[in-house]
Symmetry: C2
Subunit: 312 residues, 2 copies
Amino acid sequence: MTTRTGPVFTKVALLGVGLIGASMAHAMRRGSLAAHIAGYARSPETRKRAADLGFCHAMHDDPRAAVRDADLVALCAPVGAFASLAETIAPALKPGAILTDVGSVKMAVIRDVGPHVPNGVHFIPGHPIAGTEHSGPDAGFPELFDGRWCILTPLEGADETAVEQLKELWRGCGSRVETMEPKHHDLVLAITSHLPHLIAYNIVGTASDLEQVTQGEVIKFSAGGFRDFTRIAASDPTMWRDVFLNNREAVLEVLGRFSEDLSRLQRAIRWGEGDALFDLFTKTRAIRREVIDAGQDTAAVNFGRNPAKPRS
Amino acid sequence: MTTRTGPVFTKVALLGVGLIGASMAHAMRRGSLAAHIAGYARSPETRKRAADLGFCHAMHDDPRAAVRDADLVALCAPVGAFASLAETIAPALKPGAILTDVGSVKMAVIRDVGPHVPNGVHFIPGHPIAGTEHSGPDAGFPELFDGRWCILTPLEGADETAVEQLKELWRGCGSRVETMEPKHHDLVLAITSHLPHLIAYNIVGTASDLEQVTQGEVIKFSAGGFRDFTRIAASDPTMWRDVFLNNREAVLEVLGRFSEDLSRLQRAIRWGEGDALFDLFTKTRAIRREVIDAGQDTAAVNFGRNPAKPRS
């Protein structure tokens, strides 16, 4: 890492100021990473709220105005909006600027954005692996990326200096950075993020449709495990719709595996095969240990799910 | 609620001193609910560790010695061990004593324990809806039951005074108490607890078997959603094997519903039906709000998943 004097970018434009865009603004301010942060949001309410919160230096109602003279432009809207956004801003992008994004899928983003990128603009897709179940400009906070991974998927022949500069920004935001092939990214995220969300959405839906159990009972006794799924299933609906529509192949692939495995478990329960259940449940426990060791569940460490030492 | 002077029970015996048994001991001490707490554990290591931690007044290597003269006996072992445990202690139970349990299923417990209960002993099955992914005597802590529900499933003709006394103990441990039909309990828990655990175990298993994605990658990028499943999938294997073997019907019923719903989602993804996805994702978000309003996710409130207010 180079020792930096001054900000990483003179002007950064955030197109979308929800959870991720707002958190980037907070993190960039915390680290003095950008001299000027320009924001854009499609809806007047979001623009107003973001302006009131003040994490951007200026809020714009035209994305072309936001990106003008920007050294870094980050697409922080739901990925379904990227194609038209990219088309709109293309003529206003500064030559030599870096264009990146924070979308949860990468192949579809390259497909949608790639064709609009002008010569001389460095398009470097990215994805910070961080989030909460909250959304909107109020949801942003400076620590969101601390200790989390950010994956960049630079295209073949990408400018090394530009990639390094983007890495420096993410490191300044608290992230660790890794590069990956876009297709591999989509598969890794399908299993670590997209399938978990799909399953959580699905089980919460199933529970609310059960006619023998009231919704009140489901809520009341949710501490038995269900509540953790409700948290994940509270994530932004538009963002997640776009993720599933845009990572279809990889999601269907891992979902197929999941369903096969679930059928095997179902059979083990039906036939009373206790050993098969025990063996799986023992194996999965070891994986939890590794997640904690890798520092990827700070809640378990900092906030202490089991805080009290016995006191007798 | 009556105003109590002195402990609720003179002697309580805990057969099993893992997460739940140990937490009961801590909570009873915190509330001065029992004059003497006797503990039993099958394994010498657990007995030794529990004795060192000192949350029981005495640890026994014979469950009959532990239950002698006890006013309340609580089965806190995995439910698969209940039948033989009940058979063993039956002759040593004091007439007029209450026999309860903390098992996650109730029909099977009534089937296994019921036949061994001597005349004059009040058998009142129970289930505190609380837990963590940790197990063993070290995992116990006094606040585990605070604000959580405890479900009692008294049999027909159960002694009202005995039921009230057991309720008082659980309230003293911090719980809210509800009574329910055992069969209904098993269905409610199948959806709020057993299916979520099964799904979590399954997805963690699926992830670890994917040959295109390394286990290291799964761990590294688990912050995208997967890590929450690993926490649930770290729960005690023996306990959970017994739950699934002993709540077969209800689990298979809700699992069937879940799989049907998942097939519908799979189809929506395959055919690009964005509206169907968006509608479900919006509905599930509302349920999350209710879980928080009902005080069933204190982590979200106390520890703040999104603690920082924007500071710009």
